[in-house]
Symmetry: C2
Subunit: 203 residues, 2 copies
DNA sequence: ATTTTGATTGAACGTTCATTCAATTAAAAT
DNA sequence: ATTTTAATTGAATGAACGTTCAATCAAAAT
């Protein structure tokens, strides 16, 4: 009896509106009142679905971070060799697709919050570790397959993401698209060397 | 005639108070009123020296970023070989000294602002490029010296900082100090391989 | 038709915010 | 001493903030 609950859908709508606003005007300039205005709805409705702004931000972060998983999607996976799949994924990682799908400003803005909120820190850690272990699996497949002789799959995956994260950190500051492409392919190449780890450092 | 100006010193005091507060409570939770209270001074005094909060934030960012240059300091430089100097600097970069000197929360918090303020973005870019070119100089010295055969000093310096920045991005989320040390030395080792760039990627 | 339940509104709360402006105080110079 | 200049205060501004609560509205079930 009684009215059907719209909780899940309304919450989603609110988060999407929050995301869009924060993307355009910055996380620190986005208030509950502004979100409500953008949705043409009363501010107290937002508080009704998320009790506090804190909860709303947690939800936003989940929304943002959940966007990162599909980066591992490879079409026609079944018909491809492990090596091909791995190379396609690495191509995806070091491509502008990745860059346009997500908003770096929000990603780093929320990352900065993680220093003050352990819940947020844990969420980011889980994302980064999840990405690493997924990439490690693909490398493992190549090792089993004999197409790679990498020592330590997880370590290699970690190093590749270290390079990737460092690369995007710097590239967010670079404007010239031509230079950006050059940089990106250099970084990708360097990341690939991680898979062939026989470099010796002279004493 | 008239009273001596305290502008420079007062401004510095204000920025230091701002820095301390923002470090403890977060950039987004630090207001002019709070800074004034911490200094036991009237809020309007702060506005008197910095006309707007925007100006105050610019000054804070300069203050923060200026802290990064001394990382290149090496004692008794004159009596050391270029190779020794380079290795000491790289040791410094991949050490916790670097990590404790600066506040990552503020560094990333201000970095996030750079997406909305070109002035800030330019400041960060200048810092990162400055660090790279200084490291490149040290590498150049080793090449002239014959102690290194690196192809491209600036490219190598860039890659080392890519690894460094990616490393700190990830390590800010890691709590276990033992794991942190292991990671750090692995990343340093990988950064060093950049100086010996002969790794070939099989077709 | 009435009851039940949840969606949504609207008004109000006290706080904090950045900023303004005039008034006051303190140190130099004449 | 008086003038000049700058430091500093104190009161006030309006706007925005997150949150509260009671009131109303709309859809299901009886």
């Amino acid at each position: 009896m009684g009215r059907r609950s719209l909780k899940a859908t309304r919450q989603q709508e609110i988060i999407v509106a929050f995301y869009k606003l924060a993307k355009k005007e910055g996380l620190e300039n986005t208030s509950i009142a502004k979100i409500a205005k953008a949705m043409d709805v009363n501010p107290s409705l937002i508080i009704h679905y998320f009790q506090t702004k804190e909860e709303l931000i947690y939800a936003l972060i989940d929304f943002i971070l959940d966007k990162y998983t599909p980066i591992f999607h490879v079409p026609n996976k079944a018909s491809k060799t492990p090596k091909t799949i791995l190379m396609e994924v690495i191509d995806n990682l070091f491509s502008k697709k990745w860059n346009t799908l997500f908003d770096d400003s929000l990603f780093y803005g929320c990352y900065a919050l993680s220093f003050r909120e352990n819940k947020i820190k844990a969420r980011y850690k889980a994302l980064l570790d999840g990405l690493r272990s997924k990439l490690a699996e693909l490398i493992e497949d190549c090792i089993s397959d004999g197409s790679l002789a990498t020592d330590n799959a997880l370590e290699a995956a970690d190093l590749i993401f270290i390079i990737l994260d460092g690369a995007y950190f710097y590239m967010s500051l670079v404007k010239d698209p031509k230079l950006l492409n050059e940089k990106l392919s250099l970084y990708k190449q360097k990341a690939l060397t991680v898979l062939y780890n026989h470099t010796e450092i002279p004493a």
